[in-house]
């Protein structure tokens, strides 16, 4: 069965988007390969001669998803997106507009504005957002190609703190829902996928793991398991027991003569 993640007409077999922050550059290739990731996020910054070139460490064929981190309003996000395109990164853009430095929560209003401005410039906007239904609808109307609700604060590894609100987005929004930020364990990624999320993005959970390669693989397996479970349809939940073994034909051992 074909089960593709489709973003603005682009098809992906993998539902695991890998963030490239906090990695030793020499480990990125192995992380991407063991994650089976086909999309990797990047940031834009001033380049100095002592920086290595991350692009040399990303395997061929992986789609680059630059983010607009550092932007504090829609205009700054647009500028960063234009720079990303100029630097050869194509049309995909993860919109990130953040004015809060303690919890790094996204500004949904400015994010929706940036979505519209970037869609009008031919970008494929993928907004990182606080999971709120009206804001998500605004972003859909503004031309978003996917919605990326946060699970918990960036880099916190605290898991699906916003679970019930992401569930509402999954039910109500017709675009791919990619759970982003705060996913700390494979089991949390699996749970998001079981709920019907279309993909999961993770970075810190892998970059700060004891073994990056093993954790990348564990996330890949968990995301696949969650997706398969979602497609299978989860079994029902009851308050009381429901015997799995037959309640008839019990064996008489002769002790009740």
């Amino acid at each position: 069965m074909q089960d593709k993640l489709v973003i603005a007409g682009h098809e992906f077999d993998s539902r695991f988007i890998l963030g490239s922050g906090k990695f030793d550059l020499t480990l990125i290739k192995a992380a991407v390969e063991h994650a089976g990731a086909q999309i990797i996020t990047l940031a834009l910054r001033r380049v100095n001669s002592f920086h290595g070139n991350i692009l040399e460490h990303i395997p061929e064929g992986v789609t680059l998803l630059p983010n607009t981190s550092g932007a504090r309003n829609a205009e700054e996000a647009v500028k960063i997106a234009l720079l990303a395109r100029e630097a050869g990164c194509g049309e995909f853009i993860k919109i990130e507009v953040i004015r809060d430095s303690k919890y790094l929560l996204p500004d949904n209003y400015e994010t929706a504005k940036a979505c519209e401005m970037l869609a009008n410039k031919g970008f494929i906007p993928m907004p990182y957002m606080y999971p709120e239904l009206y804001a998500a609808r605004d972003m859909v109307n503004a031309g978003a190609a996917a919605i990326m609700p946060l699970a918990s604060p960036i880099g916190s590894n605290r898991g699906l703190a916003t679970k019930e609100f992401i569930r509402i987005l999954i039910e109500e929004i017709d675009l791919p829902i990619i759970v982003d930020a705060g996913i700390g364990r494979p089991s949390q990624a699996c749970e998001a996928m079981e709920m019907g999320a279309d993909a999961v993005m993770a970075n810190t959970a892998i970059a700060t793991a004891g073994s990056i390669v093993q954790m990348a693989q564990a996330f890949k397996n968990a995301i696949n398991a969650g997706r398969t479970a979602y497609l299978a349809g989860l079994g029902r939940v009851l308050d009381k027991a429901d015997a799995s073994s037959p309640l008839t034909g019990f064996i008489n051992d002769g002790g009740t003569k």
Binding site: G19, S20, G21, K22, F23, L25, I28, T41, L42, A43, L44, R45, R46, V47, N48, S49, H51, N53, I54, L55, L64, P66, N67, S69, K79, L82, L83, A84, E86, A87, G88, C89, I154, G155, A181, M201, N203, T204
Partner: protein, 65 residues
Amino acid sequence: MAVINGEKDNAHNGISVLEYLSKQGKKPSQVAVMINGDILPKDKYAGTVIEENSEVEIIGFVGGG
């Protein structure tokens, strides 16, 4: 004095953006350049000279989530 990526720079006045990138070992295809706040199109790297008062930003990709 020119300012390149936030640092005062006297050493590169008069050379083109393309020459500057080459000295820094940066591939023009993998960076974006802003001069005085405006994005410089790639086809203008060779013909744009870093001047006395230029504010130059050389932007590229780094790891990020």
